[in-house]
């Protein structure tokens, strides 16, 4: 009963064996790699080139190129201070977000039942909802707190409160991803062990500590990486919350928007990407070590459809309520604010005048069509590339054990989603500048769609992978017995299995595109886009029309998220297209038998 022995694996690692991956589709993988390379790697390389331009403030790509500017950049004491501060804040956000995520993730992965929807809906809403609205929620809360606290106790620093609210806003933005990462890790538990633990009289907090705890490693690592990256390059929250000190993201935004110093912005971006890549590299070593541990081979019980009882006296219930309240606070705040403005408008002006004012607004309606078009293009591109990326990830995940190289490749290919959209907008801006300088014309409005597409690409791939993983484990072996050609496998197995995934991937990518502020703001040029228009309307002008509109927009987003969740949880039986089976039955369960 030595506690130290708990950390030792019970049995030696099993020998490596690569399972056959017959459903492997090289053409799809090539498509995924091509999209990723074109939209992420090439702009990144161009940014790297621009970062080595020695002359600042002049035309981009005008040269001369060298390492002198980099030497000055990395030896600047102000940059060191800025870097340390940003890294510290990002690490703090990573830790806090992951600690807060434990309770909700347990609700999603273990308690199950209706709790799953209750937690996942606000998670998706924060992840896919309008960034400006959510950041403004924290800004409004900060303003009310400042009014209440600073008036009562003048000694309390305004800057301290602004920093605290920035920390809250960045943690809030990272919290859904931390919850999703941890619940993914927790979902690998055996429900029979939870039931055994509950039967032994343990509460859920104790089960989290003893039964689920050993599974948490990968979820914590991935959750920390995502939260760290989001906070490290955040610019919207510090800008809206008027924080006193500069962060890495704010410095980058300042270099582009105020100083027009493109090479400096490129250096901020490249160094940021490099640091994040190094962090992902360290994470891969840990993930590879975890995946080398022997896994139980016994068939697991299906997860019960109902929820386990969670008593109010359980410490986990308190932890979950805290996290859930934190997650829902800015959303509820903005909904109430919007409802208040809607009520005032309804009482004073009436719906007719309200609709008239929306129609007369010079930016609101003109921004809707370009945003929708851009979101549609981004969604189509992300979903198409996502299938390829999912095929690639599936092949790597089928390996046993998964080596650190495969973990690294997976995390690097997922980097566009983890990467702060400010970094992505810089790389795409650089690509545009390069095209404008050396090629006949720029990308125009398409740049927003391309930027959004590459950001949504890993998320779309994840959705595809979720559906793909629902195929029976031994389907590869079964398909191998029949020696079916790749084209037939694609038509009869992969196609039907991904039919529902397409709709979800398209919806998720479109929502992500519509809600993103940085890419739309940086790449759209003079054309109005929805997120920057909302920012101008809410934050700068505090227009009652805009403030009234954000509530219905949040509700609409929530409804779409609800539909997505419903489709994600629904297990639709896979059927091959009628008449195309050609003698190969698609009754997978029967074939498995």
């Amino acid at each position: 009963m030595d506690r130290a022995r708990l950390r030792q694996p019970a049995t030696p690692p099993q020998p490596s064996s690569a399972a056959p991956v017959i459903l492997w589709q090289p053409r799809l993988a090539v498509l995924g790699i091509a999209v990723l390379t074109l939209l992420f790697v090439l702009p990144l390389l161009l940014t790297l080139l621009l970062s080595s331009q020695d002359t600042a403030g002049t035309d981009p790509f005008a040269g001369p190129f060298g390492l002198a500017s980099w030497r000055d950049f990395v030896t600047d004491p102000d940059i060191h201070l800025l870097l340390l501060r940003s890294l510290g804040l990002a690490a703090l956000v990573g830790v806090v977000a992951n600690l807060l995520a434990l309770g909700p993730a347990y609700l999603v992965a273990v308690i199950g039942g209706g709790w799953r929807q209750v937690v996942l809906l606000p998670c998706l809403l924060v992840l896919l909802g309008d960034q400006v609205t959510i950041a403004m929620g924290w800004s409004e809360i900060g303003r009310q707190l400042a009014r209440a606290l600073l008036d009562a106790t003048p000694g309390l620093g305004r800057d301290l409160l602004a920093d605290l609210m920035t920390l809250c806003a960045e943690t809030h933005r990272a919290l859904p991803i931390a919850i999703l990462c941890q619940s993914w890790a927790m979902r690998r538990h055996d429900p029979a062990l939870i039931e055994a633990g509950l039967e032994c009289g343990a509460d859920h907090f104790r089960l989290l500590r003893w039964v689920i705890g050993p599974l948490l490693g990968p979820g914590l690592v991935l959750g920390f990486c995502c939260a760290f990256a989001l906070s490290f390059g955040a610019a919207l929250e510090p800008a809206l919350l008027n924080t006193g000190a500069l962060s890495w993201g704010e410095s980058l935004r300042q270099a582009i928007d105020i100083d027009d110093n493109w090479p400096a912005a490129a250096r901020f971006t490249v160094l940021g990407c490099l640091l994040l890549a190094l962090m992902l590299g360290a994470a891969t070593a840990f993930l590879a070590r975890l995946s080398n541990r022997p896994r139980s081979r016994r068939p697991r019980q299906p997860h019960p459809p109902h929820a386990y009882h969670l008593g109010p006296q359980d410490p986990l219930a308190i932890l979950s309520i805290l996290a859930f309240a934190f997650l829902a606070l800015p959303l509820v705040w903005m909904l109430l604010l919007s409802a208040r403005y809607l009520y005032i408008i309804a009482v004073t002006a009436g719906p007719h005048l309200f609709l008239e004012a929306i129609g007369d607004d010079p930016r609101l309606l003109p921004s809707v069509i370009p945003s929708l078009v851009s979101a549609l293009i981004a969604a189509l591109l992300a979903s198409s590339g996502g299938v390829g990326l999912a095929a690639l990830w599936r092949r790597w995940l089928k390996r046993e054990p998964i080596t650190w190289r495969h973990w690294l490749l997976m995390l690097l290919s997922a980097m566009p989603f983890i990467l702060p959209s400010l970094f992505l907008s810089t790389t795409h801006l650089t690509a545009q500048l390069f095209l404008a300088t050396y090629l006949p014309n720029g990308l125009g409005i398409l740049a927003v769609a391309l930027g959004d597409a590459v950001r949504a690409l890993p998320l779309a791939a994840l959705v595809m992978l979720v559906f793909w993983q629902r195929l029976p484990d031994d389907l590869d072996e079964t398909a191998a017995e029949f020696l079916l050609p790749a084209e037939r496998l694609r038509r009869q197995i992969i196609g039907p299995s991904l039919r529902s995934a397409w709709a979800i991937a398209l919806a998720v990518s479109a929502l992500l595109s519509l809600s993103d502020f940085q890419l739309a703001n940086a790449l759209s040029g003079d054309r109005p886009m929805l997120a920057p228009t909302l920012l101008a309307g809410i934050a700068t002008q505090r227009s009652p029309i805009y403030l009234a509109l954000i509530g219905p927009l949040l509700v609409l987003t929530g409804w779409v998220c609800h539909l997505i969740l419903g489709r994600l949880d629904r297990r639709i039986p896979i059927r091959a297209p009628q008449g195309s089976a050609g003698g190969f039955s698609m009754n997978i369960s029967a074939r498995k038998t």
Partner: protein, 430 residues
């Protein structure tokens, strides 16, 4: 509606215990009734189940399919909610009482030990939340000793132990809870025969020592019958419980089954078609051209109660045989009660046939005897070595005495598989 089963009251000092059974199942439905009957099951919709379980007894829930009974145990333990009905334990309804507070422990064929904890820590897990236990190390050692676990096993991880030791550790953890009720979902089904027998004896010993109430669900009644105080035969179809077939001691059910399903579940069977030719208030007269003598009479105690009731309500009991009226039934002959002979008549009844096949596991010999006029062979088992050489193709008589047969009604649902069960699945047949 299924009959409400209250176990027969015990005599003497134990009678008051039976007035307050430990667990009462009242009108319980495991899943909501389907709008239409399950196609192909040939049975009605699931019926609400009512059962009482007396304190300190070993109850066996036996049926053809384990899954619905295991589901019933999950509902009793509190893992799953019932669709309808209620559970009462010591007079208190169990609804709303969470899983760990019911005083119920479960043991399944999956030991469900926490893989990252040593066996000792696994046993300690339920004890560590209980502050009344002072010396936890002593408590763990005591719990391990009680179930036959060695001290060395306490410091090892579950994956390093064999299946039976894991099950013993799981049993020690379950008993460490001090449960009022232990639910067993056939934990021995995956064990080798020797280990299963040893653990079965230990389970019985612990149940008696601790005066524990045990409910065991199984689809292998013969394997568990020896340790059961009471057996409840459950009718299952389409993955759902349809009702209670029969209850009583294992011996009663083996020797006096009420129908063909009960007979088949409780052991190997031979069912011979017979014709009821007459009956009165005390006995039934039968005829079978296969049996010597062809005409015979069976007293009421050797007729299944359902059949007897059917005959009694027919309206012809007083007048005896009516011209042209016949009733078909099945004559149950247990294979172990049939004795082979070579022509000398020593028993009251006999069948004549030829040995079609012969099997021996060293301890017993099983004969398949082809009887002219009977589609399926008759099975007889006898202790090894056989009293005389029994070779394939040899003419043989199978004899039995008057008290060793039972008349059962012909229930259509189980007719087709009555003989095949005994032959095709010798493991189930025990």
């Amino acid at each position: 509606m299924a009959p409400s089963l209250i176990f027969a009251p015990l005599v003497g000092d134990n009678a008051d215990i039976m007035d307050h059974p430990l667990l009462q199942i009242d009108q319980l439905l495991l899943s909501p009734p389907a709008r239409r009957p399950v196609r192909g099951t040939g049975t009605s919709l699931p019926q609400p189940l009512s059962l009482d379980f007396a304190i300190g007894q070993f109850h066996l829930l036996a049926g053809e399919d384990l899954a619905p009974q295991a589901e019933l145990l999950r509902v009793i333990a509190g893992y799953d909610p019932p669709a309808q009905g209620r559970l009462v334990m010591r007079g208190q309804p169990l609804s709303g009482i969470p899983l760990g507070a019911r005083g119920i422990a479960t043991l399944t064929s999956d030991p469900r030990l926490f893989p990252q904890l040593t066996v000792g820590r696994n046993i300690l897990f339920p004890l560590s939340g209980d502050r009344r236990i002072g010396d936890t190390a002593t408590a763990v050692a005591g719990a391990a000793l009680r179930v036959g676990l060695s001290a060395a096993a306490l410091d090892r991880y579950p994956d390093e132990l064999d299946q039976v030791t894991q099950l013993r550790a799981a049993l020690a953890r379950a008993l460490a809870l001090g449960p009022s009720l232990l639910l067993l979902s056939d934990p021995l089904r995956d064990l080798p025969a020797g280990d299963a027998a040893s653990l079965l004896q230990d389970l019985r010993r612990l149940q008696r020592e601790l005066s524990l109430t045990v409910i065991c669900a199984t689809d292998r009644l013969p394997a568990w019958a020896a340790v059961a105080d009471r057996v409840v035969l459950i009718e299952t179809a389409g993955g759902a419980i349809r009702g209670v077939i029969q209850s009583g001691s294992a011996e009663d059910i083996y020797l006096k089954p009420d129908n063909r399903t009960a007979a088949r579940l409780s052991g190997a069977v031979n069912l011979l078609p017979v014709e009821i030719t007459a009956w009165d208030s005390e006995a039934v007269s039968c005829r079978s051209p296969l049996i010597d003598p062809q005409d015979f009479t069976l007293p009421q105690r050797q007729v299944a109660s359902a059949l007897w009731s059917a005959l009694a309500t027919d309206g012809r009991d007083a007048g005896g045989r009516e011209a042209g009226v016949t009733t078909e039934a099945s004559l149950l002959l247990r294979p172990n009660l049939l004795r082979p002979g070579l022509g000398i008549r020593r028993q009251d009844f006999r069948l004549e046939g030829r040995i079609q096949d012969r099997f021996s596991d060293g301890a017993s010999v099983m004969l398949q005897v082809r009887v002219p006029g009977l589609a399926t062979p008759v099975v007889a088992t006898l202790p090894a070595p056989a009293p005389f050489p029994l070779e394939q193709g040899m003419a043989v008589n199978l004899g039995w005495n008057r008290g060793e047969m039972r008349l059962l009604p012909n229930d259509t649902a189980s007719r087709s598989s009555a003989h095949s069960t005994a032959l095709a699945d010798p493991k189930k047949a025990g």
